[in-house]
Symmetry: C2
Subunit: 325 residues, 2 copies
């Protein structure tokens, strides 16, 4: 076996655990250390766990640090900080703040001579790639992104704040009618309400007024008022049995015209049993890319747009041309 | 307007005409010349048309030559020959011969300091990209490619050779049942017969024995014997009205497992009214990439695997991060 890429994980929530599992599927990588803000001895993992404060001691032992913190508060700080020490990969996903985050990480990584791949995952990430590809091939056209069927944490949190709700899970679901109109080449203008529907599953407190709960949810501004929302009441056992996993997915469609009037449709879709495990698998592939870019002497922040797909694979260029082209 | 990329087209069949139309949708490029083996004055185009023998005189006037000849005999000769003179893009699609073709074009392009993007289009091309991406993210999984619904030229030619057939068109169609099994995460082993069905539309000679024609077609080894084939007899007017266009498309699916047992499905699909116009639009985007790579001082043969998507777009890195990531 050739030399393995030595991986570290910074942050050990759902995403970090997903990365740990993803690395096991890639024999050209090995996971050497997990870094956490919690007490290291409290982390149940077969990998060695250290305090995140000690990460700096590992600059010669870790090739690529995969940052598994959240985008709200962890990554804005950790992204630039780790880019000063390691090649990094992250899934920073606050779309509006990506340009600013890119600049900060780029400055840090260029100063340290490291490669930092930012904002990977599936959206931003694979969906972004498909938006760019489809727009470049079909400049005269219209792009549609649909999310789901999947759990939205923000909307689930919102329904849990309603009085009388004990447990709640909210699924975002693409409207099949809207998707079919796009696939049919209609290029429709779709209002917010037409693109997605929202489905809530609720275990209510005993004696709670279910009708009042449902009405309060459906009227909630920003979260539900602009959508067709259905509310289902279930018991706690059903909630546990049927709504405990984190499925997600979605579609990026572009419908364009070429020639005189030929309709051309490009569609990319994901159907994921586990959102964090899939995002983790994307991070692992881009960790390989970061390592390869670094070996070529590159430095600075990179996004999925800057990285040829060949860098994601352990195979050689000749193997790829022979087997996959 | 910034400087435009000066494009030439070598070969003016369906694909060449498609490229001519695609360039019109991309204001950062302009079509300066078409080169043909036919008599230039016989070509009905608003662009200047020259004999392909004269192409060498244009080395200082054309930035990227888009090679629109066929893979059987044109490109094996023209690919290396034009790579000695111009940056080139082609859609060489004989999968088994790609490694050899790559080596020949690479040697020519490296010697001349040119960039040659080979084997673009949708398969090879976009489908290959998706096979590579999905395999890199989901190493434990299974890949499925389905083609159609679309016209297969080889199969249409085969049915036209049957006695009594005046006109014939053959459509390759993915089996919906097979696609649904893959989407359902079953990871099925699919026999040839299970993946695609073949549908033939025939205008028969007057008095021809339709039953005999249908039987001969269905029994044809390699082409039809291994498939479920249906044969429809129609009149010539219907043939002209309903079967004159060149639709195509298909699906690349990968179904993989992450974590303990999460099924993750990645799907890429195309639904094309015009196969040659879409392939032409892909060639145009990769002509832009060839130009950008050349400006960076790169040389040699490249495939879609080697080229970051950012190079396909006229937008800057900052614009892409802001608008599409």
């Amino acid at each position: 076996m050739a030399e393995q890429i030595r991986i570290g994980i910074a942050g050990y929530g759902n995403l970090g655990r997903g990365v740990e599992l993803a690395i096991k599927q890639n024999p050209d990588m090995r996971l050497d250390a997990i870094f956490t803000r919690r007490a290291p001895e409290s982390i149940p993992s077969e990998t060695k766990v250290y305090s995140i404060e000690d990460a700096e001691r590992f600059v010669n032992d870790i090739d690529v640090m995969i940052l598994c913190g959240g985008s709200a508060t962890d990554l804005p700080e950790q992204g630039p900080a780790f880019a000063r020490l390691f090649h990094t990969v992250d899934s920073f996903d606050t779309h509006a703040r990506i340009p600013e985050y890119y600049e900060q990480v780029d400055a840090a990584a260029k100063a340290s001579g490291k490669v930092s791949v930012i904002s990977t995952g599936w959206d931003p990430g694979l969906f972004s790639l498909n938006r760019l590809l489809a727009e470049s091939i079909l400049p005269e056209g219209k792009e549609y992104t649909f999310w789901g069927k999947g759990v939205s944490q923000g909307h689930s949190d919102a329904i849990r704040r309603v009085t009388g709700v004990k447990h709640g899970v909210q699924y975002t679901i693409p409207s099949e009618a809207a998707v079919e109109r796009v696939r049919g080449g209609e290029n429709p203008e779709l209002a917010t309400r037409e693109k997605h529907i929202r489905e809530c599953y609720i275990a209510a407190e005993e004696g709670a007024d279910q009708e009042a709960i449902a009405e309060e949810i459906k009227a909630m501004p920003n979260y539900f008022a602009d959508y067709d929302t259905t509310v289902h009441f279930i018991d706690e056992a059903t909630m546990k049995a049927e709504h405990g996993s984190m499925p997600h997915g979605g579609l990026v469609l572009r419908s364009g015209k070429t020639g005189v009037n030929s309709t051309q449709i490009i569609e990319f879709g994901l159907k994921l049993d586990s959102n964090p495990e899939f995002t983790a698998s994307v991070l692992a592939a881009y960790a390989r890319a970061a390592y390869k870019l670094a070996r070529e002497g590159q430095a600075g922040a990179k996004t999925v747009f800057d990285i040829p797909f060949a860098y994601l694979s352990p195979k050689s260029g000749a193997e790829l041309r022979k087997e996959l082209l």
